[in-house]
Symmetry: C2
């Protein structure tokens, strides 16, 4: 068995073969707004040597086998941090100081458990690694107090363990990336239906550990809602959860491990709800005269039980620069706000839902804008991170952040966070926003910013991020809708859950991981 | 302000004015199957005197006010245990040994918090009391090691604190019983849509603390899915949860308090998702040639996104004795299995859903059985517990229990638990079953049993319950779908969540309630 997957470039997103220069229209926009300031990345950032002693390497090899404990620079470079803009900015200037000392590749639950026991015995920090797509510093473990840092790479744990066509569930290993899981399930006529922007690289374990939410969440649900069972290896022992679709047998302990970001245990298998592969997929667009009108239309659908599979709405600024169609960024755009609706399923059900949505939207003043723009969105849905790399090359800082709140509070949060970002970034800058996840009671707000890089782009972004995070909490919103806490959100997360919440998490952490080897510094305040 | 509510009789369910003798048809069935053995209940069971010292009473009065610390026998009798058959059987023979020493009635969050601090200081056990409808021993706190047992009666905490017509949420206090909450919300055009059989007496706090599921769960969702926020008073301090409809800010801590059964804190307010009061309610019936065929039809709806608001299916035995229509029990019944479907909402949506369900059911071989039987079910939906009292009067042991599992495992669980109950109860006995809560991946199984009482009916039931519980776990199902753990389910709950799960719960308990005053003996193994 070989590790047959495309590795992401250490300083860029995704498949190096898909990297491309900035499209002409976008480069024109950059030149006009910011001025191009080419900033090439360091090609091969240097690493500190591995701190792991030969004895520790040998001990780990006894567990996972020779060849599965890797300490070479190239492998360690590929397991350093995640893919937030600060992660990339540091890598681009040659800073890979958070590189692990070794990459350890267990093959199954028992090997994971044995690695954890070894780590406890030898005080090694363990960072579970799936797709490496964290954008909140979830892969940056604290090194102090440990004899070394291991990247626990789940790349060998990619099996589809079982499928249940009657219950419509599947049990899979956590190392499967999105497309790998979907390919295995497609052979069974099944889909998970979880398609976040990180889909091409992120892993099932990561989806669960971060409570990810995908672009089809309106139709398929958030990832945490798809998980019906799991097995977790903890330093305290193994736990198997999920005896029924739902029960009243005490608190739902699955919900403690969902969102636990590798700090309470390592998820070694997941049982997820699956659906039939949709026969039809239709993506189309509507235009609204204002962001508020579009949001009202979304709320109307959510509260009427009429949600399509995909439902996204860009604000005026995002609509104006065609962010939904990277190839057209900077080109001419219609006015108002662009909404993407996607319908997936059996043809009759899709047509019925489309007709019902059309009736609602026409009644609320929406303007149908056809399928061409919707198809462009669907075609480019995983491309935005490549665009970010191209903009970083041109000296333009680009990053995203998100929050969520209740419908009645949406405008307050939207304007508060936007104003905080604009004030912090100064001019020239762009602050764009869209709603991409809706619920009966509220919705997410996802911001994309662009600004001319200063001499300290990491500090520049940290300041803007802090201002936005303060604004979220001031407006009563959450610090993160679907990107988890990591290390970047810790101060605000602590305020969001309060001292009793912090106390609970610390108690659970102390119980399951008393020596604190699991992803130290992440999530737990 | 007066406590303006109907109190349940200490030895019976519900409103004494609604108690009635066994209907003739049912009495005929009892005579034929079991032989009637009249067993009148003790009228006024005696109580041990309150163990609370006058100093402790005075200390509590300082917190909640004179008149809100009640130690009289009548009040304490009404706060003794819950309404399981063993609870009733013991009360009926005069055993109220678990009576609290005082009933304390706080008016708001701060008074609850102060009572908890007082209880910690003076080592008083605290049993949160909402509706008193527990059927799993959830109100039977361990007395050993405590200076007394307080029933923390939430009867003064019945306010609708706020409504949000845009987000469609409402914030309510935990002491509101089902009909009280629905009446307050109906004035706003809203409904929670949570209607368990205990609806007329159970409280919102209890729904949350036990992860209750109502008869309209197919349409409205389980209660835990309706909770978007909560405030909880714990000995460690106050926690406010629910900053967004959903987020990725660590584990969902709401899910620790949902199902916590008063052992981790006292829920002092709840924010729940609400829906418009349905304009139309239609209940109708279908017949299926077998339980398996009916279950397949339910699964088809659940996996097609076509669930009605109410969906219930009785097995052959339950259908044969007309359990869905208490007035007709023992009368003539059609063969096969009776299904109740209920549709609620706007007329056009109801008709569309009915038509779609009809198409599916006709395709699967169901026989439409009209609205009359459906309306009878809806009319009598809260009456079964009264029937239980009448049967206990006649010397017939009656009790229920439930479980849930995945669809592919449903028949194994159904037959395994049924066989265990039949073997344990011997002859003559009845073991009836229905499915009343369905999910995409599985369903609940709810059993009702009747047997001629032995001289030790509590022991008789305990043996049958243990056999059924063992059979559930042996078949991989959960110990409880919607009745919580209490004290009765503890040994099986411990097996279900395993040693790591037990360790987590104990750690959270030790953190939030280090002296263990909250509902000792309940839930936490």
């Amino acid at each position: 068995m070989t590790v047959n997957q495309t590795e992401m470039h250490p300083t860029r997103w995704g498949d190096p073969a898909r990297a491309r220069a900035l499209p002409d229209e976008a480069r024109g926009l950059v030149e006009m707004v910011f001025g191009v300031d080419d900033r090439p990345a360091v090609e091969h950032p240097a690493l500190a040597p591995s701190a792991l002693t030969p004895e520790l390497v040998a001990g780990l090899e006894e567990i996972v086998g020779v060849g599965h404990v890797l300490t070479d620079d190239e492998t360690r470079r590929l397991r350093t941090r995640g893919k937030s803009t600060p992660d990339l900015l540091r890598a681009r200037v040659g800073d890979l100081a958070d590189a692990p000392d070794a990459v350890v590749r267990p093959a199954d639950h028992d090997e994971v458990a044995a690695v954890l026991a070894f780590a406890v015995e030898h005080r090694l920090a363990v960072v579970p690694f799936g797709g490496g797509t964290s954008v909140t510093g979830g892969l940056v473990a604290r090194r102090e107090g440990f004899a070394g840092v291991l990247s626990l790479d789940l790349v060998w744990m990619k099996r589809l363990l079982s499928v249940d066509h009657v219950s419509m569930t599947a049990t899979l290993e956590p190392g499967l990336r999105g497309p790998e899981a979907e390919a295995l399930l497609a052979a069974e006529g099944m889909t998970i239906g979880h398609f976040p922007q990180s889909f091409e690289y992120a892993s099932l374990g990561g989806f669960a550990a971060t409570r990810s939410s995908g672009q089809s969440s309106a139709g398929f649900g958030r990832f945490d809602a798809l998980v019906v069972g799991m097995t977790v290896a903890t330093p305290r022992g193994r736990i198997d959860l999920g005896t029924a679709p739902a029960n009243a047998a005490g608190p739902d302990l699955r919900q403690l491990f969902l969102g636990s970001e590798g700090t309470l245990g390592v998820i070694t298998s997941l049982t997820v709800r699956v659906r039939p592969v949709p026969a039809v997929q239709v993506y189309e667009c509507w235009r609204w005269s204002s962001f508020a009108d579009g949001a009202t239309a979304m709320r109307t659908l959510a509260q009427s039980g009429l949600l399509p599979t995909v439902l996204r709405l860009s604000d005026e600024s995002e609509s104006a620069i065609n962010l939904a169609d990277p190839a057209a960024i900077g080109g001419e755009a219609a006015t108002g706000c662009l909404m993407v609706t996607g319908f997936e399923g059996e043809p009759a059900a899709v047509e019925a839902k489309r007709a019902a949505v059309t009736t609602v939207f026409e009644g609320l003043g929406g303007t149908y804008a056809g399928t061409a723009a919707g198809e462009k969105w669907a075609h480019g849905r995983y491309d935005a991170p490549y665009l970010r790399d191209s903009l970083l090359d041109a000296g333009v800082l680009v990053e995203t952040l998100e929050t969520a709140t209740f419908w009645s509070n949406l405008d307050r949060v939207y304007t508060g966070v936007k104003a905080a970002l604009e004030a912090a970034l100064g001019q020239p800058s762009l602050v764009l926003c869209h709603i991409s996840h809706v619920y009966e009671t509220g919705a997410s707000l996802y911001y994309t910013i662009a600004a001319k890089e200063t001499d300290d782009p990491v500090g520049q972004w940290r300041a803007a991020k802090a201002a936005a995070s303060d604004a979220m909490l001031a407006a009563g919103a959450t610090i993160t809708h679907h990107h988890a806490v990591g290390t970047d959100h810790l101060p605000w997360f602590e305020r969001e859950i309060g001292p009793v919440g912090v106390s609970i998490l610390r108690a659970v952490k102390a119980d399951l991981d008393p020596t604190g080897v699991l992803n130290p510094g992440v999530l737990i305040p």
